[in-house]
Amino acid sequence: MPINKIVDSFDEAVADIEDGATIMIGGFGIVAGAPSLLLEALGRKGSKDLTMVSNVTGFGKDVWSQLGFKFAEDPDILVRNGQIKKAIATAPVSTIYQNNFERLLRAGKVELETVSQGTLAERIRMAKAGIGGMYVSVGVGTVVEEGKETKIIDGKKYILELPLKADFALIKAHKGDRWGNLVYRRTSRTFNAVMAGAATVTIAEVEEIVELGELDADAIHTPGIYVDRVVVRPQVIEAEEIEYSAEVKESYQKYMDRKGN
C-alpha cells in the first residue's frame, strides 16, 4: 500500500478533534501562516473546552480588521465561538484594542497561561524531541519565575521549563506531498515548523500538493515523519480582499516624508 497522508476535505481532517483536546495552532498571528481553513472546519465541528497553544490568541481577521485590513479568511473563529477553555500564548491580548479573547478572559470564561515566546517555541520543540525539561535564564526575576524550580549553573540563575505537548497540531505550509514532507514560504515557517511533530496528530494545511520527488530532498523543511495528514486549500481563496485604511496609508506617508529629509 502506498503511503498516503492526503485527506480529501478540511472537515475530514479535523473530524476526530473531540471536546477537551489540546491543540497547537501554527503561524504568528497574522492571516498568512495561520491554518485558517482547518480552524474554520473545527469551528463548524464545534468541539468545546479546547486548550489552545499558540503565539497569540487574537488571530488574523479580528486583529487586523482593527488596522483597516480585510481578509476573506477567519482564523479567529474558535475564540469568537467560545470553543476555548484555556489558552497558552505569548501575546494573549492586543495593546491597541480589546480582542475577543480579552472579553472572554474578563468575563471569567477562559483561563490563560502567558509564556515568553522563545520559551514557548522551546517547550514545544522539547515535546517533539522527547526532552524532559530545560533550564533557561529568560524570565529570571520576573513573574515567569514564580513557582518554578531554579538552578545556578556556572554562576548564573536558570529556571526549569517543561515540555508542552498537544493532541493535535494544526499547521500551514506552502507545499506538501503524500508522505507529509513540507516546505514553507518566507516568514510563514514560524511556529508551523516548530509544532509539526509536537502533537499526537499533526495536520498540515497546504497551498499545493506536489508529487513525491518534486520537493528537493535538501530543501524539505519538515520531513514527513512529523506529519500525519495533509489537506490542500482551494485555489479560490487566493482572491483575498485587502483594504488599507486611511490611517495605515497616512502612517506610511509620514515615514516616507521623514526619510526624504
Partner: protein, 223 residues
C-alpha cells in the same frame, strides 16, 4: 536659542538607527522601533532579524505592495533583499537566547537607573503581553529602548525603581527618548544628548534618578 521641540516617532527611530554599525544583527520591536529599519545610515550594511523567522530583510513596503508571507515582528510587510534567510521560530530564538543578536530595540513603559526594564504589562490592565520581550531583553548584547521620556500626564518613566512588573533586570544599555539620549552605565545614567532647545537641567527635571551629565553632552542630530 532654538525653539524647544520634542522628537517625533520617525526622528526617534532615525536617532536609534545611528547606533547600528556595519555587520550588526538588529532585532526591532513592534511599533516605533520597527521604523528604524528605514533609517540605516548610508553605506552601512546591517542585518535585521525578526523573531517570526527572518534575517536580512529590507525596508517596509508601501501598503498593498508587500508579500503577506514576508513580514516583520509587527506583521508589516517588508522588502526582500539578496542574502536574506528564513527559518522557524525555535531557530529565531536560538539566535536571540544564544547571544547571536547584537542589538535589540524595543519600547518601554519604565526603565530604572540600573537598567531594569518594564514593558509587558500596565498593572491596571492585569493582563500582560510578554511576546518575545523577555527573551530579547535577556539574550541580546545591546538593548536600546525607544520611548517617550514621560507619561501622557508628564510623569517620569525613567525611575529609581520600577513600579510596573519586570520584563528583565539590568538589561538596558541605551535609552533614546523624545528629549534625550541616556546611557546606562555602572556608575549611573549618563546624559549624552538632548533634543534641540532643551537643557540638561530640564531633562533632569523630568527624570527621577540623578543624571550624570556627560562633559560632551550635545544636541541630538536630527538628520
Amino acid at each position: 536659542m532654538q525653539e524647544k521641540a520634542t522628537l517625533d516617532r520617525q526622528t526617534i527611530a532615525l536617532r536609534v538607527a545611528k547606533e547600528f554599525q556595519d555587520g550588526d544583527v538588529v532585532n526591532l520591536g513592534i511599533g516605533l522601533p520597527g521604523l528604524a529599519c528605514n533609517f540605516v545610515p548610508a553605506g552601512r550594511e546591517v542585518l535585521f532579524h525578526a523573531e517570526i523567522g527572518v534575517l536580512g530583510f529590507g525596508e517596509m513596503t508601501a501598503p498593498g505592495e508587500g508579500d503577506f508571507e514576508l513580514v516583520n515582528a509587527g506583521g508589516q510587510t517588508v522588502h526582500e533583499q539578496p542574502g536574506m534567510s528564513c527559518f522557524d521560530h525555535a531557530e529565531a530564538f536560538v539566535m536571540i537566547r544564544g547571544g547571536h543578536v547584537d542589538i535589540s530595540v524595543m519600547g518601554a513603559f519604565q526603565v530604572s537607573e540600573k537598567g531594569d526594564l518594564a514593558n509587558y504589562m500596565v498593572p491596571a490592565r492585569e493582563i500582560g503581553v510578554i511576546g518575545g520581550a523577555m527573551d530579547l531583553a535577556s539574550g541580546t548584547k545591546k538593548l536600546i529602548i525607544a520611548m517617550n521620556h514621560t507619561t501622557k500626564d508628564g510623569q517620569p518613566r525613567i525611575l529609581k525603581q520600577l513600579a510596573y512588573p519586570v520584563t528583565a533586570l539590568n538589561c538596558v544599555n541605551l535609552i533614546v527618548t523624545d528629549i534625550a539620549v541616556i546611557e546606562v552605565t555602572d556608575r549611573g545614567l549618563v546624559l549624552k544628548e538632548v533634543a534641540p532647545g532643551w537643557t540638561p537641567e530640564e531633562v533632569q527635571g523630568l527624570t527621577e534618578p540623578k543624571l550624570i551629565i556627560d562633559p560632551d553632552c550635545h544636541d541630538i542630530e536630527l538628520m
